[in-house]
Amino acid sequence: MSRWVLALAAMLPLGAAGCVDQAAGGGAGSREQIRAVGSSTVYPFTTIAAEQYLANNPQARPPVVESTGTGAGMKLFCAGIGAAHPDIEDASRRMKRNEYDICVRNGVDGVLEVQIGIDGIAFAEARNGPKMALTPADIYRALAAAPGGRRNTARTWRDVNPALPAVPIQVYGPPSTSGTRDALAELILATGCEAVDPAMKAVRDHSPDAFNARCLRVREDGAYIDAGENDNLIVQKLQSNPNALGIFGYGYLEENARAVDGVPIGGVAPTYDTIASGAYPGARPLYIYVKKAHLRAIPGLRAFLRQYAQAWDRGGPLVKRGLIAAPAAIQQRSAAIVAGEIALDPAELK
């Protein structure tokens, strides 16, 4: 019977060992591994870079890549300098001016902005779907909360544009915390809004809030269905509901080409070439942001960035996994930023 007492006593040092470990590893001291947070769209590319970095530097600690969404990642990234805060932010949109200001307020001032490539936000339907062809104006009229300032009452695509089939408007898309959703607003809804009402161009400059309410707010009456950050789920929904449309990154469209088709927007289908050339309206740049102060402090961060810069070429591993390579001029600029450690000029941000 007393062996149970012994067993109990044996548990206690284990707990104590945990406490010692925590004293050694915790706190604001140094950190051996690279930490990245941010967009779920950039996550697969950063994980590939991390894997290759580890393959080339077997002695290094494995980098830690977390997918939090661009907005939540910016909060973590800008919370401060030091081992407790991440080194790299994956972003599927550009950093906003107010995010940069928060960064500076918390002591994060030198930030490298590296464009790694391009992604397209693709509209897709099941292969046996109604074969839609949309314009940004159609999408704006169908998905905005208040197109033209009135509550959106469109039920079918025909309500939006008589040339479209009379199937109900059902669009599965990313949640509002996602960079893909921001890109939907910036690239498609804003363009559509200005096409429907050219006066909105002026409104955008003098009262951005009114522009946001009129142009960028997405309806919340069930026509736009928030499908979470899980893009595989959207593909499954499309297969079970051929009348629905889905919105996700181009990489998923390419991978699921047997199950879903891209919907042309403004007459341009989402393909590698149309997105790379900028002809497709839903093309958007992908970035990583790196803290300059961490380049010295975190072992391997410089090597990791160089690794990343080698991987984003047209024949490179990132493109194999669905990234669209940026034009040569932008690639050269990004490579120069990595090589010269040139910090971002905040005057460029909006």
Partner: protein, 425 residues
Amino acid sequence: MNSAPPSPAAPVRTPTDWQSPAMQRRIRHRYAAERRFRWLGLGAVSLSAAFLVFLLATMIGQGANGFLETRIALPIDLRAAKVDVPPARLAGPGGDLALAGAGLEGAVDAAANAAFPQQGGAAVLSDGAWLRVRDAVKRDPSLLSRPATIDVPVATDIDVALKGDGTPESEAIVSALRPRLSKGLNLSFFSGADATDPTRAGIWGALKGSLFTMLVTLALAFPVGVLSALYLEEYAPRNRWTDLIEVSINNLAAVPSIIFGLLGLAVFLNTFHMPRSAALVGGLTLALMTMPVIVIAGRNAIKGVPPSIRDAARGLGASPIQVVFHHVLPLALPGILTGTIIGMARALGETAPLLMIGMRAFIAAPPDKLTDPATALPVQIFLWSDEVAKGFVEKTSAAIIVLLAFLLAMNGIAIYLRNRFETRW
């Protein structure tokens, strides 16, 4: 029937007439009700059994392929490719580095390009194929000096095509290469960590993360939980304060797990500045969640020890602490252990709190220490279910099977311990 109202006249007793139609009807109703209840119970059991069978069958059906890999026989001549590493260096710790430096990866790609040029050459092989060649060379250094044929894993689209859900192009490659292809157990799935290529992804990193997390949880929750239960049952006076504590503990056991995640984020990460994503923090957070379950199970088990045992011990001169540790605790232990393991099993399957403290990261190597960044099994399942590549579908199911096996093992231990130490009085 006996409670007839008191009346001045003595009740007239007549024997029950079992044959009367009214009585027969009553008997039939009783039997029917009995049967209905039995059928309802049986139906409930078979419904839950059917759900379980459905879950297991789909998981095993989809996941069994996740444990298998497709290999291709790759003819390779490392001497001709001038991969030259002295055997002495090969055996040492720098062996991997030496082989990588000698251009082994390029040599493997070149061999594939030469062997199947029509099917895409190196594109047929998995990203991790050269690692398999590396391990083969380390086992048998003579491979460096002679031509040989080594089985290496194929790329994920070909793997998926052979298992029956490929694109037309990869189906064509499969039919062209079929004589060279073979299937085998994917051992690297049990020894590797997360990877971006499904053919390289392994479960060991997440399993080890889960083990570390459970270790911390057990080391903290078990002693604290058992000591609290002992104190509350054996020593604490019964007053308003202990009632309050009892209600709080019962409440705590029912709090949704995401709230413990937020608590862990606020306390361990933001206040104590512990490392984000570490198994240590995950364990501490889950310990908070498991502790109330252990306290409740422990109190019930201690209550179940008959007072006569305590009285007898006290009567023979045992001190209160001797009564507790020599008699009450050993007799209550089966119940306490069962409760502990059920609590631990719940903690093992928990995802939400771990997401809050950052244990959902991509980490390409298993953790070595409690403070290393780690993932856990349920989180790994969640991450893989969100991956783009088709090959991850079966890996997700395979990871679920591993998690279920882990749970089954824990519950098996609970049943064993209960039967082993159970005393009846």
